[in-house]
Amino acid sequence: MKLAHSMIHKLPKLGFKLFITTIMFVITLGLAHGQTAQEKGLAIAKERKARDLGWGDSVAEMSMILRNANGDEAERKMRMKSLEIKDDGDKGLTIFDQPLDVKGTAFLNFSHALKPDDQWMYLPKLSKVKRIRSKNKSGPFMGSEFSYEDMSSFELEKFKFKYLKDDKFEGQNCFVIEQVPTDKNSGYSKQLVWVDKKHYRALKVEFYDRKNSFLKELLNLEFELYLDKYWRPMRVEMFNEQTSKSTDLVTHSIEFKTGLNDNDFNQGSLKNLR
């Protein structure tokens, strides 16, 4: 879940503000000739990605709260280990603690920028590691409103970007970027992302289904700063506009640079997880 990190150059203060704004406007106009909306969109996405480089690895304890249209709730508990991989997508390992019948089930994901992610499930009942088809990326993750592709890491190569407009979200100045998935197996025709200008964090994402209808809205909330650099939302809310079902992803704790390495993401060691 890395839908949320970033930042920006601090905007100047007060007296300067008008002056600077004018300058910026002129520069923007000037750039407008040289920089297309696509280029600007890509530049913002690159900055968003760049500001989140170097976090290394993390271990998080999380809950998913699944809510149906009537408001009935069910809780999933899991631990998530992530490893940053240079020049490729990240590695992720999710161990489920609840529901109790899937306790010990582990989901191993190697994200890739261009080709489909490599994914495995460990089924403790059979002691079996099962390769799963990641083309199934639009399918729900654990019956939630998050799909498998929503759980994958943010990589530039996964989208074609386009800057749409400036907007305000919850009082924060944002860029609105359109992201069109490059993978034809994506469940989405496009995503609209509200990226705050200050920290380049994705604050809100609108997901549009294959028929271009508004499908889901994601909000990244309660941001915390880690290692003085990396912003993480402690609460992510995903609301399905078509079914009125929703899922909250709550981070109870997260630790960075815990010393994980490739060995912790080997399918041979999945059987030892509890």
């Binding site: 699944l66 149906n68 069910a74 809780e75 609840q98 529901p99 109790l100 019948d101 899937v102 306790k103 010990g104 490599d118 059979l126 002691s127 079996k128 390769r131 088809r133 083309k135 199934n136 639009s138 399918g139 729900p140 019956g143 469940g187 060995n263 080997n266 399918q267 041979g268 060691s269 030892n272 509890r274």
Partner: protein
Amino acid sequence: MQDMNLVIKGHKLKKLISLLAVVPCLVFAEVKYSGNAGVEQRYFLQEALYPQQERSNISAYFSPEVFTSFNNGSDSILFKGYFRIDQQDSERTHGDIREFKWTHSGEEWEVQAGIGKVFWGQVESLHLVDVINQTDAIEAVDGEDKLGQPMVSFSLFKDWGNTTIFALPYFRERTFSGVDGRFRGPIPVDTDNPIFESEDKEQNLDWAARWQRSIGDWEVGLSYFDGTSREPTFVVAPNVDGDISVRPLYPQMQQVGIDVLALLGGWIVKFEGVQRNVFEQDNSVLINGVPVTFEQQDYFAAVAGFEYSFVGLFDSVYDINLLMEYQYDDRKELATSVAQNDLMVGTRFVLNDVDGTEILMGVVQDLDYSNVRSGFIEASSRLNDHWKWRVDAWFFSSDEPMEPSHLIRRDDFAQFSLEYYF
């Protein structure tokens, strides 16, 4: 001398100190308790073949699990017990230690010792390659339940693949229905008087090795096993009391196995193949004190198939998987194998709902005899965080006395289970 004494004392002290240093870790290591229990009601759709057998059966099981890790997670101990109590069949009332093992993990390697459970393979309908653990056959007709296997194993996790070597010092006999149980022949298998080809009987030291690797969209496994075959043949002979009995005979076996899974577009293609060498040549087996020589069998068996998924069917979140697998065994005349020329066709519905509802159904058709087939339905769903229901049903059709499935032709059943997880 005194110096020596001091040195020794110093050593002892050091040992004591290091031991004391370990103790707090052991004490404060988190111990995780979990497990599940269930009640199963079975109802057989036809009148039984034998007078001792009943139409309905209730059974319950309990499977606790304890896990703890220490030394910053590089050591762990897992215990998984199993106990079942059965209304009708005293053989099915049984207990087992499914797992009780210590694991030590290093950088790119691992050692395990104790009782373990290992799964090898990729296909769904038949597990040929998977020969480490004995089948707890009395548990369920699908053969997916396994007995705990005593073992010591060493694994290497490298870029070029995961390699594990196993030493298996003790053999577990297969479980079979007793006289009051269904799923048996006219004479129940005499599990008290097994016959072994190995002179060391169940203490024959078996060994095995496996290499496994993911290469892009391919999963490839190679394995070797040398030891007592988990699959018995049967000998009809008088037992110690002079009664005719059906005794399981466990021969020696060498097996080379290969298992492959490939993701090809929307298709998942799977293959498992084994080359087996069963019975040593000129090796005689003592049956009631009489040496009997068995013909060496050298044969090939394989399962090949595919899975195709329709994701998000009709704009819903439902998935449908179609499965088809062909089972082949080149022992033409020998009927001990059920799967010598059979086709499994199945489908799995995944509702992707909060309750995790899944329905799997299928048919296994014998291509040699049109009237020999079996069908199954398995469905399950959560009731809440602790409770889950499950329905299993099996149907057997076989008019062919030469086919093993003929023995269970009247054992069609439906079973409803309630499971509790903690």
